[in-house]
Amino acid sequence: MVGEARGPRDLLPLTPAVLNILLALADRERHGYGIMREVEGRSGGEVRLGPGTLYGSIKRMLADGLIEESDERPDPEMDDQRRRYYRITDFGRRVAGAEAERLASLVETAREKKLLRSPRQRPLSEGA
């Protein structure tokens, strides 16, 4: 596997599409449309992956060893033999964790520089 030869931090920073796909697969296996719906639902409709972005990212994530294809059919409601399911690999989990730590560190810096208020307060972008 290409990704296994490198450390998780070698792939950072992740593109928003790749991070969103890893988050969508973190709790269960999903097919392409399932990934799209999860990303859209979780972001409140703000992030909508197009088919080209989704499968272009999937292609690179498979090559990097972040995800793998699954033979199982975990979604009986939308099951179709033609649908291809994907699951996150251990390496993908480590990469997603490293990216989350990187983003958390950035958020902490923003908070220290008073660009962001504490979680209980309203964000500055909402005004005083």
Partner: protein, 178 residues
């Protein structure tokens, strides 16, 4: 918009989208075309259920922008491979022709040329670095054995392999420091 009515819209849209997939390289289409069409079909049904013809029109705008951007990215990657591979083959052949000429006896320069060109190619296109080594390094043993029965010239392939992977690792190291 190519759709004629609400009930037929998804199937017409799906057919148009399938036709537009020709914008992607053949290998990409072969691997993911069916799945992209399936996802688009699902999206059509969902958008039509949510917003009718207006929802479908919004989906088409988003999808066309996505298709234009991602097909360009996929095509440029395929083009890079198509351009670099012939270049590697020609470069390897030229180095081998010089190396096999009667007046040439500087093996060090030949080895440096093979190592350097494979290193640059391996850094430019890091995936399948071994193929650059084969494309550049194959010619020296091929001509060396065919013209001079020089079986030691297989060593050129080892130099090429080392060069390609040194280039690849250097690229990763530079990317990590950036």
């Amino acid at each position: 918009m190519p759709d004629t009515g609400p009930s037929q819209a998804p199937s017409v849209s799906e057919r148009v989208y399938k036709a537009l997939l020709v914008a992607y390289p053949k290998e990409f289409r072969r691997a993911y075309g069916l799945h992209m069409a399936q996802v688009f079909k699902d999206l059509c049904r969902e958008e039509q259920r949510r917003g009718g013809a207006f929802g479908l029109a919004r989906l088409w705008v988003r999808t066309l922008l996505d298709l234009a951007a991602t097909s360009f990215v996929e095509r440029s990657k395929a083009m890079r491979w198509k351009f670099l591979m012939p270049l590697a083959l020609v470069l390897g052949l030229l180095i081998a022709l010089v190396d096999s000429s009667p007046n040439w006896d500087d093996t060090g320069i030949t080895a440096a040329a093979v190592f350097g060109s494979c290193g640059i190619l391996g850094a430019l296109y890091t995936r399948r670095a071994w193929q650059w080594a084969l494309a550049v390094g194959f010619w020296i043993p091929a001509l060396g054995i065919a013209l001079h029965q020089n079986y030691e010239s297989w060593a050129a392939l080892a130099v090429a392999l080392v060069g390609a992977y040194v280039g690849k690792l250097t690229r990763f190291a530079l990317a990590a420091r950036a």
